[in-house]
Amino acid sequence: MIPVTQKRTYTVYQARRPRRSVARPRPSAVDLCAALAGLGFGVAIALGLTTVSASSLAAPGGLLTALGRIAGLVGTYLLLIALLFVGRVPAVERVIGQDRLVRWHRRLGPWIVILLIAHVVLITLGYAKGVKTGTLHEFTVLVGSFPGMLAATVGLGLLLVAGVTSYSLARRRLKYETWWAVHLYTYLAVALAFSHQLATGVPFSGQPWARTYWTALWLLTAGLVLVYRCGLPLARSLRHRLVVVAVREEGPGVISIVCRGRRLDRLPVLGGQFFQWRFLTRGMWWQAHPYSLSALPTATHLRITVKALGDHSASLSRLRLGTRVAIEGPYGVMTRHARDTDHVLLVGAGVGATPLRAMLDDLPSQVDVAVILRASNAHELVLRDEIAELVGRRGGRLHEIIGPRSLAPLDARALHRLVPDIARRDLYICGPQGFTRGLLRAARSLGMPKRRVHYEDFAF
């Protein structure tokens, strides 16, 4: 095992550019996905509409049944889309970014729950009207005697629990792990709901094409989720076999974890990206946490630098050397590909400096670099020496702003004073949410176009 102290030379053997090939983000691929998603949405609505006719609407309960059916189809379709948003499909991740995809997933959630509840209520009311029976009685008949309905009811129950626990009020009172476990059941919920759709769904009865299409849609979603959320991370973890070889303190409460692995130069990662980390020890193997690389990997080693904030990151400092590590990723769009120009300004607060440190490894040599590091005291300037060295080699500028926010603010005026040509640069921001918000405001008031401001929001 390599002694901890030797790891200080990390930046030195970093210099060679590795032989990894990283796919560029292709916005047109996402346009295509958007087009397909739109087509599918239209088809879902239309499948409901094909069962509607003047006479069916005139029949008792006809309108309610038709609306209930469309609500079910649209709700289910959006459910599949919501799963794909968090399906970690690389072509989409590379362009949109995981933070935005997760935000979209969360925004879609309530609509799905509302539509599916509307589906149950409207169909029950419509059928009850049609056979002139009590609503509750009809509900028990529907659940009890129609094929696949019992499973679907259980599925909706699971989905509701996941919905309620994701509601921000409940979410704040729950441990992340509890929420995550409950959320995992939504996959079961989705699977349980499938059979009643083909078995009792009028749009699919006697319509082999509709049945085939709907089944294909589900298989496609399941396939993508399985391949990209399970298969790819598993394959990468097995291929690269990461093992913790060093844990060292970088500053108060900040540690670096160095892992050794196989063929890390083939890992298609860019500076600024992060992985979901799963340390395979007894208490931690089942939870994955996002940490950015704090340097581009060499052929044999990679490193993250973490601040001990939550329960999890605090327990990292007690990691035993030799611990195996599984990774999911890389994810993140805050990379060299995001920039519009060859002039960049990297602004990092506290431990937010770590992905910027990795970007300095990765930015092409012609890029003109300015860096601002922000911390409340000098000890909290994470990886300051390495950053200073890399910036110096490029002939860039490094500014350090140290002190409490009230005395050393980083507002539009301060930014402009430090970096007068800021308006023509690409701005990369990494820090706590409040810090990022403040800088975004400053950038806007300095007239920076949105497409040249890059940040990721990790408040989930």
Binding site: A46, T50, V131
Partner: protein, 151 residues
């Protein structure tokens, strides 16, 4: 913004595509569905003439309400059988007034008829999405078969 536009346009496109195809297939399916009742009748008559085949009979099933009450409609199966073989299925009575009546008459009924001819009994799968109609149909058909086989 651009992607929102893409999604909106393709949504309308997808809707138009399916609704259009559906309307098209409905129009074309409507024509042949009128004839099957007439066709087998001729064949059977020809068959009885040539081979002096067993007697051809027409039997009515029971009059069944669809669903709990009869508000979704009611039906009464009528089968035509040569010997013990069911050669065609029709309806002495078919009133559909539930929300799905259109769908049922155009797609469910033909499926039930096909299943009957294939199974040669009332032991059929029925049609998903039309559980009440399938149940009424099976009960009525069973009554007809009982009559047929009872003499």
């Amino acid at each position: 913004m651009r992607r929102t536009a893409i999604v909106l346009v393709t949504t309308v496109l997808g809707m138009a595509l399916v609704v259009g195809l559906h309307a098209y297939s409905q129009r074309h399916a409507a024509l042949p569905s009128a004839s099957p009742a007439a066709l087998p009748r001729k064949k059977n008559r020809a068959a009885t003439h040539i081979a002096k085949a067993p007697r051809t009979r027409i039997v009515m099933g029971s009059d069944q309400p669809i669903g709990g009450g009869s508000t979704l409609g009611d039906l009464q199966v009528r089968i035509r059988a040569t010997g013990a073989k069911i050669t065609s299925v029709g309806f002495a009575r078919l009133n559909l007034n539930g929300p799905e009546s259109q769908q049922i008459s155009s797609s469910v009924i033909p499926q039930l008829e096909q299943q009957t001819l294939a199974a040669q009994s009332a032991n059929i799968n029925g049609v998903s999405g039309a559980t009440y109609t399938s149940q009424a149909y099976e009960t009525s058909l069973q009554a007809a078969l009982d009559k047929l086989r009872g003499g």
